[in-house]
Assembly symmetry: C2
Homo-oligomer: 423 residues x 2
Amino acid sequence: MIQAAICTIGDEILIGQIVDTNSSHIARMLNSIGVKVARMCSVSDDNSDIKSSIDALLKEFDIVIVTGGLGPTKDDITKKALGELFGSRGYYHHEGQWEIVKKVLTSRGIELFDTNYAQADIPEGAEVIVNRLGTAPCMVFRFHETAYRHSPVLYSAPGVPFEALGLLPDIQKDICSHFNLRSIYHKTIVTFGIPESTLAKKIELWEENLPEDIHLAYLPNSITGVRLRLSIYGVDAEEGKRRIDEEFSKVLPILGEAVYGEGEDTLQDVIVRKLIAGGNTLSVAESCTGGRIASLFTQIRGVSKCFMGSVTSYDNSVKRSILGVPEEILETKGAVSSECAEAMATGVLKALDTDYGLATTGIAGPDGGTPEKPAGTVWVAVARKERDGHITVSSQMFRFSSNRSVNIDRFSSSALNMLRINL
Amino acid sequence: MIQAAICTIGDEILIGQIVDTNSSHIARMLNSIGVKVARMCSVSDDNSDIKSSIDALLKEFDIVIVTGGLGPTKDDITKKALGELFGSRGYYHHEGQWEIVKKVLTSRGIELFDTNYAQADIPEGAEVIVNRLGTAPCMVFRFHETAYRHSPVLYSAPGVPFEALGLLPDIQKDICSHFNLRSIYHKTIVTFGIPESTLAKKIELWEENLPEDIHLAYLPNSITGVRLRLSIYGVDAEEGKRRIDEEFSKVLPILGEAVYGEGEDTLQDVIVRKLIAGGNTLSVAESCTGGRIASLFTQIRGVSKCFMGSVTSYDNSVKRSILGVPEEILETKGAVSSECAEAMATGVLKALDTDYGLATTGIAGPDGGTPEKPAGTVWVAVARKERDGHITVSSQMFRFSSNRSVNIDRFSSSALNMLRINL
């Protein structure tokens, strides 16, 4: 089967100033067309480093996709290095990309410099996949047998994430037309609320009885829960789907309510689909999660059909004034209590006039805990307006012991999961 | 100088289901103690892959730090592979880690299985750095000259980000005591609002005149702006600081207001420091940014001293009811207008009774744009309560042309930057 390597170039990655998100997007694309990603690596903005590393990858793999190092600044030297590796004698100017460079920069009100003109210069012999979202094009280097016995193909894309992302469909098309790909079929189900080791134990027998040619992968994630992914190679989509659905159908009863979706589904995706299907609206009141839940919802395109808004009542005065939490509750029970969470959920439902209200109040830490309510404690409440107009509300406590930002993520996903189950 | 490689293990990374954030944290740690990270890579959960890749890295580098593949599930096989590579004949049980495994799992109410017991089993000859936050320990393999001429050290840490992060200080201590490190000094200044190519042109002369032994790196980031990082090796901190400050002092006047901080500073960090120093409070009204700005603030420890809360007025009804935006503005000017942004900023300042109010209203896209107000358009307003109690408000329009999530990030950072300049 066709094997690929993904290589990011740039000191900013090696010194840890930037997290590489491109490689995972590229890997998912390759994976979806049955190309196995066998290696990922990062090399520095150094001409000889780039050449030796890419040369090593080209010797071993059929496809090498490089991102980064194509910016206009002096420390971006990928193009020169790859041109030398390819044996280009010089550069040609790509008018199509140059037109876009001018359009992009002027639309952003950015002055044009010769460094920008040079961004449309391409090493001789390399092909171009035009980048419509930015200045640096994607270059395609098709190596001949004389260079590497198996004639690998090298793609060089810009490192700016949304530009790299925008080029993936064209790169995918080029790969499919260049290689004769073996088919692959995956399916992933997503679960929430069962820790990885408990889950593994629960489905141990099922896992042991999986057919030889079906591979299971655990994809644990503290925010979205554990994903279970079955893969089968070398079958057509129809048979793959049939055989994998057959295996999943055996495990679903074991997992029950913990399974909330498929593929790339997130808790908020599933909630939004349910709300829209039921013609219901949602509002959120956040204390310790501080806007995190609202921002998870508003990242979803078209969410305005069901998500009306939220109140971040970080200070208690806001819990009283906007959400109408009784002073007495704050004094006697405290802000981190089932009573306060329920008053917040009811309060935001009323204030924003929605069918559902979701509320969180807790201590993200590291400061502010007590022995009874240590940092990592959160109360979540879900309020619901019934047909007859009266409001029912329920609440639940969760406790975690991580750092502040992980706690905020876990508080948020626990709240989303409680809402999902209550819908 | 001591060179290191960082290797992540796990199919979940190679198939793109998980983004590797550990490597950048590890790289920053190594960098801070003068260890050059020369390579990063990811390999699959395959015994021979792991052994051959790690063997290749050990041949080339002094330090290899591996993360991942230490979970309790069947597809986590790093420990076995590294033990074989190290030549361990068997395993010993590490009581210290086992105590923590029990504590961690029971505190989370998780049932214990033999797979968990095995997590405290260590290949013979390997040392342990105890992991207090999770079940899998960090293992230290000190290879003898007989194995690799330069006696490299291999660290194997769990892949769970906050556990890996928690182990870094101890790993750093071990590296410093094992190796005789050459010193390094860096300083980074952070800018916002000048595109990378324009910035490069602005400081071209300064860059050309930098001393040979001082290295400049551009660290562009669409959210936090372009960072400029100067590094100098082999000098003591005092001299390094003196010489780098001297170079920065020449460029600061050229960059002016665009420079907003140093090191890891974010726009929200700087804003929070200014607000607390001035004894002022802030509230936020978000439409298109949908909670993103509030969640950026609430990730900051101790922000409750100045951040009172926010209203996500995603639906116009919330702009009217909670923020008191006049119906007439929404009808005649529309929700995406300077008038609406200013009414939102003033409204949230009044509703949450704060000194400053920040508001955003725009179209994140991809849907919902018009020729006059295309997707990517945002209005930002900053309201301020003067000493005499009356409120002044100003607004500004920004336009971007990215995808939804990038637009939301850019809207947010543009709003934060406008607030920063207005403080």
